[in-house]
Every structure is written in structure tokens, then in C-alpha cells.
């Protein structure tokens, strides 16, 4: 397709498809990870205290959780199939290593998650209370466990360990599975991702609670919403602390294993010791000229190495080093993408924490917040950590380029050779259209059910009445 004045090939479209479908999938995953646990905590509170406020909140946030959960499930299948469909040479190259965590994820985590979520949704009147509570915990554990296996798989792409290259086949072969599962990148990415997910879930709980607190001040359920708002705000605060700590450690590990990614995050072209952190730099793309810059001296050295005077390698030196190591070619990611996505990740995350702090402050000593600006800020709150998560992934994946497996396989060598441009364009278009449609539907449903508020509880307890079982309505039905 030369007609646009530039060439689009199947590789480009396959990369766009992976980017779009993965970022889209990860809009739902953080809420599923975080909200499953938060709903389980709410139900545990009800179980322990018998206070109906917590039961109402469990059912209310449970409904929002399920609207989101369905989207996470169906977009997840695409991810597993996509490796084989669009990236078959990648799949051949790493299948011996990469397939195992995916299969284990399905067997160990997805079965647990999806079976027990079914039991939880439909089991309100079918299971004893303790077992019903255990179901949501089992589903939450399954969800969080699945994150570990998929992040272990991704971490192999970031920092390949526990393998050798078979000289006959040219393929990567597993030599140490424990090394793959305990990859230092996986060990730090897991808590970082979880913390980021709880940041999203806490924000949603806060926002919905705050909206109801400010809209219906004298409703019988105001106490429940007040609790939800504070609960969400504390989850946001704790998650932010966890995101910052894990992010700091991750940055140091990434500086060791992929120094290019961290240099690209900073737009640091020349090696510096000590290196200053760029809050904002506007300059020419090749780094030859800086037009405008705000910098914090020594901070980058500290972030990257733990030593305020440590040496941080620059893009130009690393490029020269890789060219001599791997042969001629560019080993530099697209710097504006890495530079800005890194800043957006941090900026949106911190903005979310700031809003949560304001909300907590506004409710101090039982006060009811009244500021319209606070409400507006509260309403956009859940979008901020979602953006932070998305930009975090864009940074992680784009910063690894041109590699699909760092130092072992170039992205352009991983694409399916047998799939034509027309085929991958068809699939990219189809996914984009169906995903866009579903996004609108999902968002409207979330808003609708968030506004509807906590449910009225059914006055008749399900288990000890005389109604014939065959005639009794189900506690929940699709």
C-alpha cells in the first residue's frame, strides 16, 4: 500500500493490533484485579460485623465489578490467540519457555477465577454464607495469581533468563523454570502492577461513593457511601506508596537489564555522572539541542543506581555498544514515545493520589464535602490511574524496541510470515470496531449502575421460609 505516501506492511499493523488490543484489555484487568479483592474485603466485613451497610456495598460494587469482569474475560482470549496468529515466528522461537506460564496460568488461575466467580454470582442462596464468602476470595486469588504468570512470561521478554539457544534449531529452550518464575524483573513487576491495579480500583470505589455522598446528603445510605469514599481513598493512598516504592526498585533493575530503556525514558543522549532528572525537556529528537529544560540535579543518578553520583549511560553510547555487540542497525526506541509515556505514567498516578488526599481532607472529622470542584475532580479520578497503567505498559513495551525478546529476537523477526497484510488489516479493523462499540456500551452501563446506588436488601431471608423450592425465584439470574 504505497498510496498513502509511506509503506504499511503486515508487521506495522500486527504491532498496532497488539498495542491496541493489549492496552484495551488492560483497561479492564486492573479493575478486575483490584476490585475482586476490595469486594471480597467488603463481604468479609459484612460477614464479621453483620452490618448490612457492608452487604449493600458488596452487592453494589460487585455489580460494577461484574460489568467490568465480562470485558476482561472476553478480551483476554484474544491475547492468547494473538501470539500464534500474528506472531507465529516469535511463538516458535520462545514456545518452549513462554507457553508454559500461559498454560499454567489457564490451568491454575483462570479455572479458579471463572469457576468461583460463577459460584459467587449465582450462589447467594445456594451456598452457606462462609462458602459463598470463600468463593469471592478464591476468584480474587485466581485473578491475582493469573497476573503473576502472565507477568513472568512478559518478564522473560524484558530480561530473558533460564534458557539457552539451541544451536541446531536456533530456538530458545528452557533450562531452568524456577529462574523464569523468579526472574528479578517478574518479582518487582508483579507488586508494581498489583499496586497500579489497586490504585484504579480504589479510585473507582472512591469516586462512586463521593458522588453519592455529595448528591444525596440525607439518604439512609449516606453512611455506607461515606465509608466507601474513605475506604477507596485509603486504598488509593496505600497503593500510591506501593507504586512509588516498587517503581523505584523496578527503575534500578531496569537500569541494569535494559539501560537503553531507562536512558530513553529520560531522553538522556550522553552518559552523565552525576546525571540530573529531567522533569520536562523540549529539544530536538536526536538530542543535539535542548530548547527548554527543567532538571533536578543528581536525581537520575540516584533513581537509576541508588548513588547520587552514579553513572547513567546515554543513548548514544548504548547504541554504539549494541551495534558492536549485535551487528549494525538501530537499537534505540522511539524517544518521544518513551520519554512522554514515562512522564504520563508518573504524572497521572500522582494526580490521582493528590485528588484522593483532597477527598480525605474534605471529609475529616465527619464533614461533608461541598466543593463542586472537588466533585468534578473526583469524577475524573478513575480515568487518571487507568491512563497511568496504559502509559506504563506503553513505556515498558515500546522502550524494549526494537527487541521482542531483549537481546535475543527483533520484533520484526517475530511476525507471522504466512499472514498477509489484508488479513491482519481485517483483524485489526474488526477488533478495533467491536472493541470501540463495547467500550461505549460498557461505560454507559457502568455509569448507569453506579448512579443507581446501593440496592435495597431483600427482606425475606432465603433459607428459612416455607416456599416450595421449585417455585422460589433465583437470588440472581441473568
Amino acid at each position: 500500500m504505497q498510496s498513502w505516501g509511506f509503506q504499511v506492511d503486515a508487521l506495522d499493523v500486527a504491532r498496532w493490533q497488539f498495542g491496541v488490543t493489549t492496552v484495551y484489555h488492560f483497561l479492564f484487568v486492573p479493575l478486575t484485579i483490584g476490585l475482586s479483592v476490595l469486594v471480597a474485603i467488603l463481604q468479609t466485613l459484612w460477614h464479621r460485623t453483620g452490618n448490612e451497610r457492608y452487604l449493600k456495598l458488596t452487592k453494589f460494587y460487585g455489580k460494577l465489578f461484574l460489568i467490568n469482569f465480562a470485558m476482561g474475560v472476553v478480551t483476554g482470549i484474544v491475547q492468547e490467540f494473538q501470539f500464534g496468529m500474528n506472531w507465529s515466528d516469535y511463538s516458535r522461537f520462545v514456545g518452549d519457555i513462554f507457553g508454559a506460564p500461559l498454560a499454567i496460568e489457564a490451568l491454575v488461575a483462570f479455572f479458579l477465577e471463572s469457576t468461583f466467580i460463577g459460584l459467587w454470582i449465582f450462589g447467594w442462596d445456594r451456598l452457606p454464607r462462609r462458602l459463598h464468602l470463600a468463593s469471592i476470595w478464591a476468584a480474587a486469588i485466581g485473578t491475582n495469581l493469573s497476573a503473576y504468570f502472565i507477568l513472568a512470561a512478559n518478564s522473560f521478554m524484558q530480561n530473558p533468563v533460564g534458557f539457552r539457544i539451541n544451536p541446531d534449531s536456533g530456538r530458545a529452550e528452557l533450562t531452568d523454570f524456577v529462574a523464569v518464575l523468579t526472574n528479578k524483573v517478574a518479582l518487582i513487576t508483579f507488586p508494581h502492577t498489583l499496586a497500579g491495579s489497586f490504585l484504579v480500583a480504589g479510585s473507582l470505589v472512591l469516586t462512586v461513593g463521593l458522588w453519592h455522598v455529595m448528591r444525596n446528603r440525607d439518604s439512609a445510605d449516606t453512611g455506607a457511601y461515606r465509608f466507601a469514599t474513605k475506604f477507596g481513598a485509603w486504598v488509593v493512598m496505600v497503593s500510591t506508596a506501593a507504586v512509588l516504592i516498587t517503581g523505584d526498585i523496578q527503575g534500578k533493575i531496569m537500569t541494569q537489564v535494559q539501560p537503553m530503556k531507562m536512558a530513553a525514558a529520560e531522553g538522556l543522549y550522553t552518559t552523565e555522572s552525576p546525571a540530573s532528572f529531567s522533569v520536562l525537556t523540549i529539544g530536538s529528537l536526536d538530542g543535539s539541542r535542548e530548547l527548554f529544560a527543567i532538571k533536578i540535579p543528581h536525581l537520575l543518578s540516584y533513581l537509576g543506581t541508588g548513588d547520587p553520583n552514579g553513572t547513567v549511560h546515554g543513548i548514544n553510547d548504548l547504541q554504539a555498544q549494541y551495534a558492536s555487540q549485535y551487528g549494525p542497525g538501530s537499537y534505540t526506541p522511539i524517544i518521544p514515545v518513551t520519554y512522554w509515556s514515562f512522564r504520563m505514567m508518573i504524572g497521572f498516578g500522582l494526580a490521582a493520589a493528590a485528588i484522593a488526599l483532597l477527598v480525605l481532607w474534605s471529609q475529616r472529622k465527619g464533614r461533608t464535602p461541598t466543593s463542586r470542584w472537588l466533585l468534578r475532580a473526583g469524577l475524573v479520578l478513575p480515568v487518571l490511574p487507568l491512563l497511568a497503567n496504559s502509559f506504563g505498559w506503553i513505556f515498558t513495551e515500546m522502550g524494549r524496541q526494537p527487541w521482542i525478546v531483549f537481546g535475543e529476537m527483533l520484533t520484526r523477526n517475530g511476525v507471522s510470515r504466512s499472514v498477509s497484510l489484508a488479513e491482519v488489516l481485517t483483524s485489526f479493523t474488526a477488533f478495533t470496531l467491536i472493541y470501540a462499540t463495547l467500550a461505549v456500551i460498557e461505560f454507559k452501563l457502568l455509569v448507569r449502575y453506579a448512579r443507581a446506588g446501593v440496592p435495597e436488601l431483600d427482606p425475606s431471608p432465603a433459607h428459612d421460609d416455607d416456599t416450595d423450592d421449585a417455585e422460589r425465584p433465583l437470588a440472581f439470574a441473568y
Binding site: G95, A103, P473, L474
Partner: protein, 332 residues
């Protein structure tokens, strides 16, 4: 038995489990416009599979993951080669899964009608295409010496593959009708039972024709025995359906699907994807497999976790064992 054979069997078992379980889910979805005369009836149908459909679909994700881990070449060639059919299956599964969760989230009839259509199409398309895909796996596809698929979409749509698609669709329809007769009460139960008998006759003819054609393409002694067993199980299930022994009828169609899938895998072994062009392109359980080390680890994981999964998934079916009818559907 060596590890590659064990994993060939495990992949076969996972797909068998998938087709038995999601087979009736697809059947229920396809029968939604036929057996569900009004909204409450349609809700009865959907709620028979409500608590379990998601867990059933994980069998597919696990089968795909097992294929990727144990036979990366098979996974890579198959998924890139069967590109457009798999794309359609994915789109169908997306629409269908969301539809179950969202159809009752708004009261408008037009909203529900759209999701009902998504459930129907989202069940019909995979029911057809899985048959087309497996018939092609058995018959072989054009692969070059590097195991790359070199055919087009039309190479996948020959008469044998289309008969395969018809067979899975018919089997899942009958299986779904039998399942509904087992899981519902009243009018729906009666009509589902009667429909199962009527569908069954046609299904038996199509399935026997497909299995016989399969055995002329490639056969082993085991495949012949399994195919005969599949036909017998189907006939026994239909006989039970006729006298409204619903539990036995469901057992019959479930065993028939299991043995039919087993027939395909038995006929295939030790090949996993034959090439119709260069014989060097043919993928086998040996040349497509991962290293023994990977297979050994995966075997341990499977040995430990498969019984646990089967236990709690089986328990779910026990928890939701009760039949449901229109009286059980809440007003809201």
C-alpha cells in the same frame, strides 16, 4: 509412554472437555430463538448455563495454552494458518460472553433483542468453525517445508471440512437440546426433549457420514473402534431421549462427542498437522514438541492441578444441579 505422547493425549483431553462443555453452551445459544418464546423463557435457557459457561470456556484457553507450551510449532502454524476462521471465532466468543452478562442489564426489548442475536450468532459461528477447523487438521493443509501455511481461506473450505462444520453444529444442537431437557421444567423441558429427538435423527446421519469419511482419509484400528463407539453412544443417547430418560440422554450425547473428538485425534496420531504439499512440512508430535524438560515440568503441573480443577468444577455442577423454570426467574 513418552512425554510427547502424554501431551498429545492431554491436548486431546482438553479439546474433548471443551467440546462436551461448551458444546451444550453453544447448543443452548443456538436454540435461544427456537425454544425461548418470550423473555422469561429465554432467561430460563440462558440461566441453565449462567453459572458455568465461563468456566467451560477456560477449557479452550487451557487447550490453547497447552498446545503453545507442549507443541509450539503446532500452535504457531495452526493459529497463523487458520487466521480468518480463528478471527471469526474470537469475535463470536467476545460478543457472546458480553451478551450473557449484559442482556439483562437494561429493560428495553430492543436492547435484549440485540444481545439475543449476539448469543445466537456467537454460538452458531464457533459451532460451525470448530468443525471446519478440526476437519482441516485431520485432512491436512498446504504447508511448506518450513511448516508455514501456504494456502488461502478457500483451501480450508472443501466439502469434507464443510461436513465437519455441519457435524459439530448438529451435535452441539442436539447436545444442547438434551441438556435443556435435563435442566429445565415445564413447557421448555417438554419442547426441548421433543426437539432433541427430532434433531437427533438428522444429527446421527450427518455424524456417521462425517466419521466414515474421516476413516477413509486416515484411520487406525483405535480410530475405527472409537468412531463405532461414538455412533453407538449417540444412538443410545437418542433412544434415551425418546423415552425421556434425560440423564442418560445427556450422558449419551456427551460420550458421543467425546468419542468423536477422540476418533479425530486417534486417526491423526502421531501426526498433529499433515501437509498436503511437501511431506517434509508435516508436523508430528515429535517434531512440533517442546524439549523434554519443559514437557516434564508441564506434566507435573498437570498431574497436580487437573484433579483439583475437575473436583471444584464438578462441585459447581452439583451446586447448580436443580432444574429451573419460568417460576424461578426473578421479576427484576
Amino acid at each position: 509412554m513418552d512425554l510427547t505422547t502424554i501431551w498429545f493425549l492431554l491436548v486431546a483431553v482438553l479439546f474433548t472437555g471443551y467440546f462436551i462443555l461448551e458444546g451444550f453452551d453453544f447448543g443452548v445459544g443456538m436454540l435461544l430463538p427456537v425454544l425461548g418464546r418470550d423473555d422469561r423463557q429465554r432467561r430460563v435457557l440462558i440461566n441453565t448455563i449462567g453459572p458455568v459457561w465461563d468456566g467451560n470456556e477456560v477449557w479452550l484457553i487451557t487447550a490453547g495454552g497447552a498446545m503453545f507450551a507442549a507443541f509450539p510449532e503446532w500452535y504457531a502454524t495452526l493459529f497463523s494458518g487458520f487466521y480468518l476462521p480463528l478471527l471469526l471465532i474470537l469475535l463470536a466468543l467476545i460478543a457472546r460472553g458480553v451478551a450473557f452478562e449484559y442482556r439483562h442489564k437494561r429493560p428495553e426489548a430492543s436492547w435484549k433483542r440485540r444481545w439475543d442475536a449476539a448469543i445466537f450468532v456467537g454460538s452458531l459461528v464457533p459451532a460451525i468453525l470448530w468443525g471446519v477447523a478440526f476437519a482441516n487438521i485431520l485432512r491436512g493443509v498446504p504447508l511448506d517445508a518450513d511448516h508455514e501455511y501456504v494456502g488461502g481461506l478457500l483451501d480450508l473450505l472443501h466439502p469434507y471440512a464443510l461436513l465437519g462444520g455441519l457435524t459439530t453444529t448438529a451435535l452441539f444442537l442436539t447436545h444442547g437440546a438434551v441438556f435443556l431437557a435435563l435442566k429445565t421444567t415445564g413447557d421448555i423441558r417438554e419442547r426441548a426433549g421433543a426437539l432433541a429427538v427430532r434433531l437427533g435423527a438428522g444429527t446421527a446421519v450427518v455424524a456417521v457420514a462425517f466419521l466414515a469419511w474421516t476413516l477413509t482419509i486416515r484411520a487406525s484400528a483405535a480410530a475405527v473402534v472409537l468412531a463405532a463407539g461414538a455412533a453407538l453412544a449417540l444412538l443410545a443417547g437418542l433412544a434415551a431421549a425418546r423415552v425421556r430418560r434425560e440423564g442418560w440422554a445427556f450422558t449419551g450425547t456427551a460420550v458421543a462427542i467425546a468419542l468423536a473428538v477422540a476418533t479425530l485425534f486417534a486417526a491423526l496420531f502421531p501426526t498433529v498437522l499433515p501437509s498436503t504439499l511437501d511431506p517434509a512440512g508435516t508436523l508430528t508430535a515429535t517434531n512440533a514438541a517442546s524439549t523434554p524438560y519443559t514437557l516434564k515440568i508441564m506434566t507435573w503441573v498437570a498431574v497436580v492441578f487437573t484433579p483439583i480443577v475437575l473436583a471444584y468444577q464438578g462441585w459447581t455442577y452439583w451446586v447448580f444441579r436443580k432444574r429451573i423454570g419460568v417460576a424461578n426467574i426473578p421479576q427484576h
